[in-house]
Structure formats: structure tokens, C-alpha cells
Amino acid sequence: MYGGGQVFESSSVNNELLKDEDPIKLAEFEARIARGEKIEPSDWMPKLYRKQLIRMIEQHGHSEIIGALPEGTWITRAPGFKRKLALMAKVQDEVGHAQLLYGAAETLGKSREQMIEDLISGKSKYSNIFNYPTFTWADSCFISWLVDAGAIVNQLANARGSYGPYCRALDRICAEESFHLKYGHHCVIHLATGTPKQRKMMQEAVDRWWAPMMHFFGPSDKISTHTEILTKWKVKMATNDECRQQFLDMYVPKIWELGLTIPDDKLKKNDETGEWEFTEPDWEEFKRVINGDGPLNKERLAVRRTAEERGAWVRRALAKNSEDQEYTAPLA
């Protein structure tokens, strides 16, 4: 699961990186992308492309592994066999997605353990929405349906990007997300059309999660030379606003048809422009949370760190058994 709001580096650093690229190779590279062909790991690529891709795929991977935690909160409490099995499988998928994405980033030259170290030390980011708590079963249902729906919008766009290994990982991820989406919708339908208590639980979850959901796609993109080149290289495939609009268009009617209320008086589709209008999300809050001051940033990283530290003896032992073997980056 991953939304927009990727943290790219400032343009000055980028321009520096671009300055001394070989113009002939760069032209060939750009021509290949323009023809709609994918870039594969052994192809020549600009340093900036490599760097921004690692950053993006890595953030996506982190969002998956941290994203396993909010819903994981309800694994041991899922009501009934069907929900129990599905939630276990769903959270497992998120871990699996992290594995796939880290593998794609590894083809670009960054090791998985370095990525994990950067996650835990707070050096690299993950999707903001997972810093919020899941108080009830309904919160986990909201995530399964709508956060995953938002992620699919973003991921389907990225799957048309230019980097082969990332696209392959995303194809696989999107196929699995279709289960998440249907499962989540199924859960929400059951709560929203269920007993008064269930309905109330679901409405409260919508009330809690709507603001983080609007933050999920990130602030409006500022047009800069920097985003232009990432768009041209098919690293960034859709703007944050485009993703948010698409999400609203697809899912607001589905939320409304269940008799649920969305906590935003201004939310409506403008028939003339075809665009959704809404109360501007609180971007100060967004920034605060992304910089570490959200309700659960500390817990999420503490849990990840503990998992890493307590599992260290296992990895040390396995590493001992394979110490004579040399690491080669994945092929594809």
C-alpha cells in the first residue's frame, strides 16, 4: 500500500547530478523511454534516475512493511474464521510486497539491509497514513478497503513507469491488491449494513480516517524542472492531485451508497469541471506527522526495530552458514 507524497530531493542536488552525464547515452536512454520500452537493471541510466528510483521504491517498500502493523493490530481478534484467515493473508501480502519491492530496489544497487537500517534509523520515509492508530475492528476494515484502494490508484499509475523490475513487482502487487480491495469492501459492507452497533463502529472509523486518507496522496505537486524530468523519465506517473481526484471519483459514491457520511461538508463533485471539491486538508498536520510527530511514528519504528533486533540472532546464524558465498544483486 502506498500513496503519493513521495519525498524527492531538492532540485539543486538533482541538477548537480545531471550536469556531467554523457549526452549521447542520455539521449539513447530518453529515446528508449519515449518509445515506451522499459529500462532493465544492466542498461545505462542517469545517476539521477537511479537515485530517485531507489528512493521511491524504497519508500514504497517501507510503507508495505510498516503498513503491516496497523491492520496487524487486529489479526488475533478478527471475528470468525473467514475474517481471521483473510486478515492473516492480507497482512502477509503486505510483508510480501515489501519483499518484492526491496528486491526491485536491490537491482539498482542498494542492499536490503541498508534500506531496513535507513527505515529504522528514521533516515528514509514511509507512507504517513500508517502513523495513525486502529482503535477498532472497523478501522482495520477501512484500511483494507479504502487505503488499499488509494494505493491501487497510485500503484496502477506507477506500473506504467519505465523501470522493468519495479513494474514487474507492481504487476504482482496490484493483482494481490484486488483481493485486499474486495475483502475490505466486503468487511465494510457487512458493518455498514449490519446492526446499529456495527454501523456506528464503521461510521466512527470513517470519521477518524478521512483526514489521513486525504493526506495519503500528498500535497498538490509544485511544477518544477525537477518533477518535469521525473515525469519525462516515467518515474513519476501521475500527480498527487490526479490520484486524489481519481480516488474520490471511484470511491466516494461507493461510501455514500452504504449510507455512511464523509466528514467534509464541502465534499462534492463539481458538475461543470468534473472535479471533486473538498476542504483543503491540513498540510501542517501532514508535515508534522511525516517529520515524526504523528500519533504512532514512535511505536511503528520501535516495533520494526524490535523485530529486527530480536531476529538478529536468526539472521546471524544463517549468515554464518552462507559466509563463503558472495552476494550478487538480483538480475531482474
Binding site: T76, R77, F81, A89, Q92, L191, K197, R310, W313, R316
Partner: protein, 251 residues
């Protein structure tokens, strides 16, 4: 053989699977490495799936729906061995428990696959392949960690020492034991235990782990008769927390 005898057998199998699957699912998302996190979660799902298959068999014999049976009973109505209800502990303990449990499970399923009651035999035959993978997984891990480093050896050895008395509790016999054996349903707990000892001894030897002499280990019985550790009721309270808010609601 009475139907009561058969139900008792099915209950203890199903309850073991449910409780162990539930316990092992606690690792999902916090395992020691990503790939193992995924594999261990799959096996936890398999276990819960197996329990569902056995609760369905019980339902066919007139017991209530699987959700009701699993999500509304109290600890003293559960027939699982105390072994499976113990907390997950360190990963070494969860792995050793998985190893000891699945070896027994494979033998049990091989026997039940020959059971004269077709419905039971069919379920056992169908699910056997999953347990075969579980045992492959367990054996490979024991061999990897048993002698990799001093640290891993010590952790696995102490987890094994801790687990063994409880593991023997899996083979606690029921009052219907002889009826079930005579009816040819399966060869009985003692027969499973005997074969299990042989099988695990072989793997443990290869793993460089030592097995205390069996007569020094005192089995922890009671689980099959509803006597449990203090860990089971809280586990059930947690598992049923949402479901019990309204057991008649459709979740």
C-alpha cells in the same frame, strides 16, 4: 465405537490446530526476516484452515457451526494440548514447537488418511501435502540453526528442553482410546508417540541438538481434558473480543 469417541478425537485435533495457528499468526509482520515472515504466516493460515475443516466434520456430526464452536467456548471446553497455548516466546521456541508439533501432525494425518470413515480420510488426504511442506520447513530450520553458531545452538537447545515436557502432552490419551483403535479409526496416541520419537530423534541428531533421555521428561497432561495453563483463557478472550460484541451479527 460411539459418536462421542469420534467427536472427542476430532475436537482435540481441531482445537490444537486452531490455537497453534492463532499463536503462530502473532509473528506475521514481526518475524526475523521477510521471507520467513511470509512462510510462517502461510503455515499459520494452514493450521487455522485445518481446524476449520475438522470443525466442519464435527458440524456434520451435529455440533454447532465452526464459528460458534471456535469463538464461544471457554478454556475448560477446549481439548487442545497445553503445548499449543503457550505464548510464542522467542523465535527459537516457536520454531521448535512447530517442529515437534508438525512431526506429530504428519503421522496423525497419515493414519487418518487410512481411516474407514471416508469424510475423515478425505480431509486428511487433502491436507497432508500442506503438512509435508510444514515438516520440510521445520526440518530445514532445525538443521540450519542447530549448529550454525554457539548462540543459535544454545537458543535452540534450551527451547527444545523447555518444549519437550509439553510436547509429550500432545499424546495424552482419552478414555475412548481403545474404542477408536479397535474401530480402526487410527492407531492411537501411543503409536503416534513412538513413531514421532523416532522421527524427531533423527532430525535432532543431524541438527547437533541433544535429546535428554525420555524417561527423565515428565509429560504435561491435562489439556485434552480441559485443564489448561493461565495462557489459554486470555488468548480466547482476545480472539473472540470482536465476535462476542454480537455473536448473532454478520461480521
Amino acid at each position: 465405537m460411539t459418536e462421542e469417541a469420534l467427536k472427542e478425537l476430532l475436537y482435540k485435533i481441531a482445537d490444537d490446530q486452531l490455537i497453534l495457528g492463532h499463536r503462530n499468526s502473532e509473528w506475521t509482520g514481526v518475524g526475523p526476516l521477510l521471507e520467513e515472515d511470509i512462510a510462517f504466516s502461510s503455515m499459520a493460515q494452514d493450521k487455522v484452515g485445518h481446524s476449520l475443516a475438522f470443525y466442519n466434520l464435527l458440524h456434520e456430526l451435529g455440533e454447532q457451526e465452526p464459528d460458534i464452536v471456535a469463538f464461544t467456548r471457554n478454556a475448560d471446553q477446549f481439548h487442545n494440548s497445553q503445548f499449543v497455548e503457550l505464548p510464542i516466546g522467542d523465535y527459537s521456541f516457536s520454531l521448535v514447537r512447530h517442529f515437534l508439533y508438525d512431526h506429530a501432525e504428519l503421522i496423525r494425518f497419515n493414519m487418518l488418511a487410512e481411516c474407514p470413515i471416508d469424510e475423515i480420510a478425505d480431509v486428511a488426504k487433502k491436507l497432508k501435502g500442506e503438512i509435508k511442506y510444514h515438516v520440510m520447513h521445520a526440518n530445514t530450520w532445525m538443521k540450519q540453526l542447530g549448529k550454525a553458531t554457539e548462540e543459535s545452538h544454545n537458543k535452540m537447545q534450551s527451547a527444545l528442553n523447555e518444549a519437550l515436557p509439553y510436547a509429550l502432552g500432545m499424546f495424552e490419551t482419552s478414555e475412548f482410546e481403545n474404542d477408536l483403535i479397535e474401530a480402526g479409526i487410527y492407531a492411537g496416541e501411543a503409536a503416534i508417540e513412538l513413531k514421532w520419537k523416532d522421527n524427531i530423534t533423527m532430525v535432532l541428531e543431524e541438527s547437533g541438538l541433544s535429546l535428554p533421555s525420555w524417561n527423565t521428561i515428565k509429560p504435561v497432561y491435562g489439556g485434552r481434558k480441559g485443564k489448561h495453563t493461565d495462557h489459554l483463557q486470555p488468548l480466547l478472550d482476545e480472539m473472540t473480543e470482536v465476535f462476542k460484541e454480537d455473536p448473532t451479527a454478520d461480521w
